[in-house]
């Protein structure tokens, strides 16, 4: 077996590690700016795709299929992102006689459609967020609207069918006037999209993002895993994931697993996938969507179950049956947390920070796993997303795992570009985080409530060392520093303090 990994960065390296452990040959692909990236060096063979922009490289189906043909690869692993949920790519691979390490193209297409996925969930008996199910009749009377609203329950959203970006959307709290909201949303939607159709959907406020990893083989066996909690998000971007969730008890865990497995069976799912749910404050959960691929956050599941999800992906693709005890997938040992380290500057409004990593010294030691796609000296490209690595820890329980993560974050040295490491140090010390009191909107609210102090706790002797270093550096340089010139004013960083930190 020879697998072409149609991806880059940490996930390409992650997949190649699994390949190597199984004795499977690997082919890397790379855009021009990734020629010296770790994933290229790691592979047995590498094919240049030309260009830098993803649309001309990692997203070019023709080039990828051609690279597989030229290198004699017989399988393709898409990773996550890029073409991972692109049914056309999967179909092109199948048409080229390649085995795709993932579900069948039809299943990718089916679950990629919001309505079709929701209908499949309903058929499988998986709870979905209650709603009108389709557009409200254009001529509905006020009474009819109110009756529908009562049936769904408040609070609820009025949403434009053609909507997006919050336009044509209204939140209606209990006791508020639904009719006005429907008329207003329809009018706004007509203006914005030329289509005034709206529908109703229950609003799950302060819900938690809970997801169920599953594996399904070609022989009908589906194994759902203990849930992951991914509620710590900034503007819908996941930052911290963990397993198990503090909000899920054993009964809910079993119910989530059964729901996920039922949906997977309903659509004839194969390989690894994840079903995302919203968990409300009463412990009820609702289907959100299915990700028909490996997730960024799969390592936390691996750490508490001891099962290697990527190796299983490859085995399933080879037609092997799932032989593990399914109980093991549902019986987490200890607790695992992942922090996604992004090249973004939390002290400058999360400004993206591509550039050369003058140093990359990841933490190590007991219970620490770092999946990185970068190394010292690597130039983090401006063309792709900003994730540089995933820092994952395991420990006996959640509070120990938090301490271990803080220890690991303290060890992590990244030079040259600011990252979200200091942000994580702050989050992990929040009382609410320690208590598990959060939902998907928590972090945005917590960030909005900050007073602008930098994210890092400063070492006690740090300022002294900084002065010493600056003084001695100046003496060794033989210079007198920058002289009396006024520092260049940079609008985007006007407010950044001289005492600032990354």
């Amino acid at each position: 077996m020879k697998v072409l990994i149609a991806n880059r960065g940490e996930i390409a390296v992650r997949i190649m590690r699994a390949c190597r452990e199984l004795g499977v040959a690997t082919v890397a692909v790379h855009a021009d700016c990734d020629r010296l990236a770790p994933h290229v060096r790691y592979a047995d063979e590498a094919v240049g795709l030309g260009a830098d922009e993803a649309v001309d490289s990692y997203l070019r189906i023709d080039k990828l299929i051609d690279a597989a043909r030229r290198t004699g690869a017989d399988a393709v692993h898409p990773g996550y992102g890029f073409l991972a949920e692109n049914a056309d790519f999967a179909q092109a691979a199948v048409d080229a006689g390649l085995c795709i390490v993932g579900p069948r193209p039809e299943v990718i297409a089916l679950m990629g459609g919001k309505t079709a996925a929701r209908e499949a969930a309903a058929r499988a008996g998986v709870p979905i967020v209650p709603g009108s199910g389709g557009p409200l009749p254009a001529g509905a009377s006020d009474d009819e609207l109110r009756r529908t609203g009562e049936e769904i329950g408040y609070p609820l959203f009025v949403k434009a069918v053609a909507g997006g970006g919050g336009k044509g959307m209204r939140l209606v709290r209990p006791g508020a006037d639904l009719v006005n909201a429907v008329r207003g949303a329809a009018s706004e939607a007509t203006a914005a999209f030329g289509d005034g159709a709206v529908y109703l959907e229950r609003a799950i406020e302060r819900g938690r993002h809970i997801e169920v990893q599953l594996l399904a083989d070609a022989h009908g066996t589906v194994v759902p895993f203990v849930e992951r909690e991914c509620s710590i998000q900034r503007r819908h971007q996941k930052l911290i994931e963990e397993t198990p969730s503090v909000a899920v008890d054993e009964a809910t865990r079993r119910a989530l697993a059964e729901a996920a497995a039922a949906l997977a069976r309903e659509v004839g799912y194969t390989n690894a996938g994840t079903i995302e749910f919203l968990l409300d404050r009463d412990g009820k959960f609702y289907f959100l969507e299915m990700n028909t691929r490996l997730q960024v956050e799969h390592p936390v599941t691996e750490m508490v179950t001891g099962l290697d999800l990527v190796r299983w992906q490859l085995r399933i693709a080879r037609g092997e049956p799932l032989t593990m005890d399914p109980e093991r997938a549902l019986a987490p040992r200890g607790h695992a947390i992942e922090c996604r380290v992004y090249a973004e500057d939390p002290d400058a409004g999360f400004l993206p920070s591509p550039g050369r990593l003058s140093a990359h010294r990841p933490p190590a030691g007991p219970g620490v796993r770092v999946d990185a796609g970068v190394e010292s000296g690597f130039e983090v490209p401006v063309h792709y997303d900003s994730m540089v690595s995933k820092l994952v820890v395991w420990d006996e329980d959640r509070s120990a795992a938090i301490e271990r993560m803080l220890r690991a974050l303290g060890e992590y040295e990244v030079g040259g570009v600011p990252t979200t490491v200091p942000l994580f140090r702050w989050i992990l010390r929040l009382d609410d985080f320690a208590a598990g009191r959060f939902d998907t909107t928590y972090l945005d609210r917590a960030l909005a409530g900050r007073d602008g102090t930098p994210f890092v706790d400063l070492p006690a002797d740090g300022e002294e060392t900084a002065i010493l270093a600056a003084a001695v550096h100046t003496a060794l340089r033989g210079g007198s520093g920058g002289g009396p010139r006024r520092e260049a004013a940079r609008s985007w960083r006007r407010a950044a303090r001289l005492e600032g930190l990354r």
């Binding site: 060392t465 520092e487 930190l501």
Partner: protein, 176 residues
């Protein structure tokens, strides 16, 4: 040698004396206290230097720090165990803690803080803009970033077009 070092919002008058008998050994004095260190540059690459500091005065703090010269105004970022201290050596702080709110006269340039691609231009030459009003959107790492006017004024020039790839520091707009 006397050096003015600004860090943490405070300015320190620092005296640096070489120990003649020991190359690489320095006495560094500020706030009435003297520190004795052995210092050497372990490696240098462009504007970065890895500096080894060994305290000989019994205090903790022997380690390697990375010094990166930033900008032309004497800026020196000291990277110490994951924390960056932004110091200014013999420099002057930009007037006011927040220039954006301070107004003022003369031209102000809106520059790209990182490399990226101009995806939207929100104003045209001649437009009046308020302080902090977004003028250009630059995409980098799949994120859109609004670049704002540093102060209220009139747009004098937009020297980029939609689709232009820009390096860090490239002028995106001039406000007067």
């Amino acid at each position: 040698m006397r050096v003015e070092i600004a860090v943490g919002g405070r300015l320190h008058e620092v005296t640096v004396e070489r120990e003649p008998a020991h190359p690489g050994r320095f006495r560094v004095t500020w706030d009435g206290a003297t520190r004795l260190v052995d210092a050497r540059i372990v490696e240098r690459a462009g504007r970065e230097a890895l500096l080894s500091l060994v305290r000989l005065d019994g205090a903790a703090g022997s380690r390697e720090v990375r010094c990166v010269e930033t900008g032309a105004g004497g800026g020196l970022a000291v990277h110490d165990r994951g924390v960056v201290w932004r110091t200014v050596v013999n420099g002057r702080r930009a007037a006011g803690a927040d220039g954006a709110a301070a107004g003022g006269d003369g031209e102000e340039r809106v520059t790209a803080p990182m490399p990226g691609k101009v995806v939207r231009i929100l104003v045209a030459p001649g437009d009046e803009v308020a302080a902090r009003q977004p003028v250009v959107v630059v995409e980098a790492m799949k994120m859109e970033n609004e670049m704002a006017a540093p102060r209220a004024g009139t747009v004098k020039e937009i020297p980029v077009e939609e689709g232009t790839s820009v390096d860090a520091g490239r002028v995106l707009a001039v406000i007067e």
